[in-house]
């Protein structure tokens, strides 16, 4: 599953199957440990004159061996063995992963790793997705482009998440790397169709252009037409998040000219008729398809639609299709068109499709091989029961709310969760939005689904207790951390006391990512977690009563972590400053202009603190509303 392209669908595709280490050398340098650079490579007892020669042989051997090391965790470990290994590892590392773009500078990265072919770079903290981080905070791609242009002639692939990318960046990237092959932008912003046009016209070797949940400005530029004429080596074109009209004729031509195309995800301006035309061209080769609107074009009045839309056979040629998404403006009447592919699907994304139980049933009945299912809660508990009845291979389920407000109706509940836990024992990852939940159902899931790695439950009403017993949700989440021995990612919600956190600290020994909102009673809650979870990497907390005492109890942990986010908690400026003083390689950012006006010991109820380890001096591109301690 590691290389399954469906991973690209995830809204956080961190690898939760092996220990984390975004550039672990940052922590080792930060702690100034002596493992790196200590001693020479040569063994004892070898005459001095022969030592350089043996070093050379050793390096060559290492070079050839380390080529095969692909896991970055293994590579980080290898680099700590000795100077020689450090050096050889650095020149043989072709995939560079940087989990926080401010942890290390482009210059330092390119000085150490000289032969990078693929760069993964992540920027803003995740809570930025929910408007908790003001615009203009940072995570600019520009300095990286400039640096890479000079250092990495063989760079072929760039994968960015939550970065700010401009049109100029895209153009410069393409200009400086003519052999560039793969660009993946997830949750990025700052660019528009102008930048896309420039990029695609310059990148003649482009194989992959994946724009996933990114904000793309409409510069009224027909970027599709800017792909070079003639045969294209395009394998993947994902643009379902691009909210601009596209030139369909140009798209059709492009698809026809791309014999290697396997993944195509259309935006909502492509009608079902147009989709069918594309399927006629490329249907048999496609493994991943995003259907676009899945309704008739709104540019043409209803009566004038192409009369002969062959719903029955449009998908019959799609023998390779395993991943289906789109349905942006679905007309449920057309759903039967996808029957021919259901049995082969391993991944189905209905999370923009407002369909009810009865509309789901005939589809899901055929999806025996489904492993990944994203859906709206409009299908109700009964719909989830139907999923549980058929999808025995289900690994990942995400149920999104069609009405994302606290006081909305909430068509799914503990009933759906229970059904899924009983029907899908292989479940590894779940994200579940609901209005009502019980400890009993959560406990049942913890027992029925022992393989759970990711458990994210969002009870939308804040502080909501178990709706049957009235108890806090402590016991349910406690059961999850206790029984799910492989759990690495947890998001909690509902009414929670410090007890829940004591469970997490006691049992959640593998937890790497924890999301907390409106939970806990006192500093003890956070303390339990910081003291009990040795593998903690990413901790994001909002609106919970944790203050300086709790913050200061985690000093032993912060260099092991990628970041800590705390907003609207009970921190003071003083507390944050103390952390910054004690930990020189931590950057402590206070976000929001009022921090400056505050007294040192005033509790900052509405403001945010974002703290991360870094080997660099604090960044110079911070905007006015950021104060760096």
């Amino acid at each position: 599953m590691h290389h399954d392209r469906a991973d690209q669908m995830s809204e956080d595709e961190d690898d939760h199957r092996s220990p984390p280490s975004d550039l672990e050398f940052t922590s080792s340098e930060a702690r100034n440990y002596s493992t790196v650079g200590s001693g020479s490579g040569s063994g004892s007892g070898v005459p001095e004159s022969q030592a350089p020669y043996l070093d050379q042989v050793l390096d060559n051997v290492l070079d050839n061996v380390l080529q095969f090391l692909t896991s970055r965790q293994d590579r980080n470990a290898a680099s700590l063995v000795c100077k020689s290994w450090y050096r050889v590892e650095a020149v043989t590392r072709s995939e560079l992963f940087i989990g926080n773009c401010y942890a290390v500078s482009p210059a330092r990265a390119s000085a150490r790793f000289t032969k990078v072919r693929s760069l993964v770079l992540k920027g803003k903290p995740r809570f930025a997705d929910f408007n908790l981080l003001p615009q203009g905070w940072g995570a600019h791609f520009s300095p990286w482009v400039a640096s890479m242009a000079k250092a990495y002639s063989c760079l072929e692939k760039v994968h960015l998440k939550r970065m700010s990318v401009t049109d100029v960046d895209l153009e410069n990237l393409a200009k400086s790397l003519p052999g560039f092959k793969e660009l993946v932008l997830v949750c990025c912003e700052g660019f528009g169709t102008k930048g896309l046009a420039a990029f695609v016209s310059l990148c003649r070797q482009l194989r992959v252009l994946d724009l996933i949940e990114s904000e793309v400005a409409d510069d009224e530029m027909d970027w599709i037409s800017h792909f070079p004429e003639g045969e294209s080596c395009l394998e993947s074109l994902i643009f379902d998040c691009v909210e601009c009209l596209i030139n369909f004729q140009a798209l059709e031509r492009l698809v026809a000219n791309s014999p290697s195309m396997k993944r195509l995800r259309l935006n909502r301006h492509v009608s079902i008729g147009q989709l069918f035309r594309l399927l006629k061209i490329r249907g048999p080769q496609l493994t991943h398809l995003g259907t676009g609107s899945f309704s008739l074009s709104d540019l043409v009045p209803q009566g004038d639609q192409e009369p002969e839309l062959d719903y029955a056979s449009a998908f019959t040629a799609c023998k390779s299709l395993v991943c289906l998404s789109g349905f942006r403006e679905i007309v449920p009447d057309y759903l039967p068109a996808i029957y021919p592919v259901c049995a082969n699907l391993t991944s189905l994304n209905f999370s923009y499709a407002n369909i009810n139980t009865e509309q789901l049933r005939p589809i899901i009945r055929h999806c025996h091989n489904l492993q990944i299912f994203w859906v709206l809660d409009s299908i109700c508990d009964e719909g989830l029961q139907a999923v549980a009845a058929t999808c025995k291979e289900l690994r990942e389920l995400r149920v999104f709310p069609i009405d994302a407000r606290e006081d909305s109706e909430g068509p799914v509940s503990e009933v759906g969760l229970q059904a899924i836990s009983e029907g899908c024992p292989k479940l590894q990852s779940i994200l579940y939005f609901c209005q009502r939940m019980t400890n009993a159902a959560v406990k049942a899931m913890s027992k029925n689904c022992p393989d759970l790695v990711v458990f994210r439950l969002c009870i939308m009403e804040r502080h909501r207790p178990d709706h049957v017993t009235g108890d806090p949700m402590d016991e349910g989440f406690g059961a999850i951390v206790k029984n799910c021995k492989k759990l690495t990612r947890l998001a909690v919600s509902g009414l929670l006391t410090d007890k829940a956190f004591s469970y997490i600290g006691k049992y959640g020994k593998l937890v790497r990512t924890l999301s907390v909102a409106f939970a806990g009673n006192s500093d003890m809650g956070l303390k339990y977690v910081l003291e009990g979870c040795p593998r903690l990497q990413k901790l994001e907390i909002r609106d919970s009563p944790f203050g300086d005492v709790a913050l200061l109890s985690g000093l032993h942990q912060y260099y092991n972590m990628r970041f800590l986010w705390m907003s609207s908690c009970r921190l003071t400026r003083q507390g944050c400053q103390r952390v910054a003083r004690e930990m020189p390689h931590l950057v402590v950012e206070l976000i929001g202009s009022n921090w400056e006006d505050m007294e040192m010991d005033d509790v900052a109820e509405k403001l945010s603190m974002y703290m991360y380890r870094s080997v660099e001096m604090p960044r110079e591109d911070a905007p006015d509303f950021v104060t760096i301690m």
Binding site: N131, P134, F400, D403, E406, A517, F625
Partner: protein
């Protein structure tokens, strides 16, 4: 419950929610400040021509409305920025889908209409009308058969079967209000007509004296007008 988040903050799609810009729904009494004189020339197809940007930054305390709201229904919870944690991209997509499907549904939108002092309620289908003026005309016809007694020191005109609601409202202190989806009581006419139809749950033609409990200052302006 501890740590209740009661701050009323609504983030518009695309806006940064963390700092500064906060869009607050305009409540009843602050719009009484603006225009009460709903003569026909003010009411166009898109409702009153008000600058909606004024909504941002207007300080308003939700708690001043209890006498208006139906006491049986608890006030809707204030929405908090970034909660529930659904990406704005997804929220926007679903919201725009909903508005599109609502347009094409064209189902009836019946709402109850009450008028203070009238013996019984009426029901209107908002989709029958295209503009606020149409609505006022219809309401005027509906309620014109009632005779309304004195209303405080103002004195309300008796009116004949012929007079319309506009006459009633002009120079008097009857105010058309509506309850929206969130349970707030709002002044009719602020938002574009389509938006009003979407969000209106019931109508109440309220006596101006009811407003006294809300905002004495607003009542002053009311009195000064006539």
């Amino acid at each position: 419950m501890e740590f209740e988040e009661t701050e009323l903050r609504l983030g518009l799609p695309g806006n940064s929610g963390g700092e500064g810009e906060v869009a607050r729904k305009r409540g009843f009494f602050e719009t009484v400040d603006l225009k009460l004189n709903l003569s026909s020339k003010d009411v166009g197809g898109a409702g009153l021509d008000l600058d909606h940007d004024k909504v941002k930054g207007v300080q308003k305390d939700k708690n001043l409305l209890p006498s208006v709201a139906d006491p049986a229904k608890p006030p809707a919870k204030a929405q908090v920025v970034g909660w529930p944690p659904v990406r704005s991209y997804r929220k926007n997509v679903l919201a725009s889908q909903k508005s599109m499907s609502d347009e094409s549904d064209k189902g009836a939108a019946f709402v109850k209409v009450s008028m203070d002092g009238a013996p019984y309620l009426r029901k209107v289908d908002l989709r029958m009308y295209k503009t606020y003026q149409d609505l006022y005309d219809a309401l005027g016809k509906m309620f014109s058969s009632f005779t309304i007694g004195n209303c405080g020191s103002q004195g309300i005109k008796d009116f004949t079967n012929e007079s319309k609601l506009m006459d009633l409202l002009n120079g008097s202190d009857y105010v058309p209000t509506y309850e929206d989806k969130d349970g707030d009581w709002m002044l009719v006419g602020d938002v574009p007509w389509e938006m009003f139809v979407e969000s209106c749950k019931r109508l109440r033609i309220m006596k101006g004296t009811e407003a006294i409990g809300l905002a004495p200052k607003a009542m002053e302006k009311c009195k000064n007008r006539s």
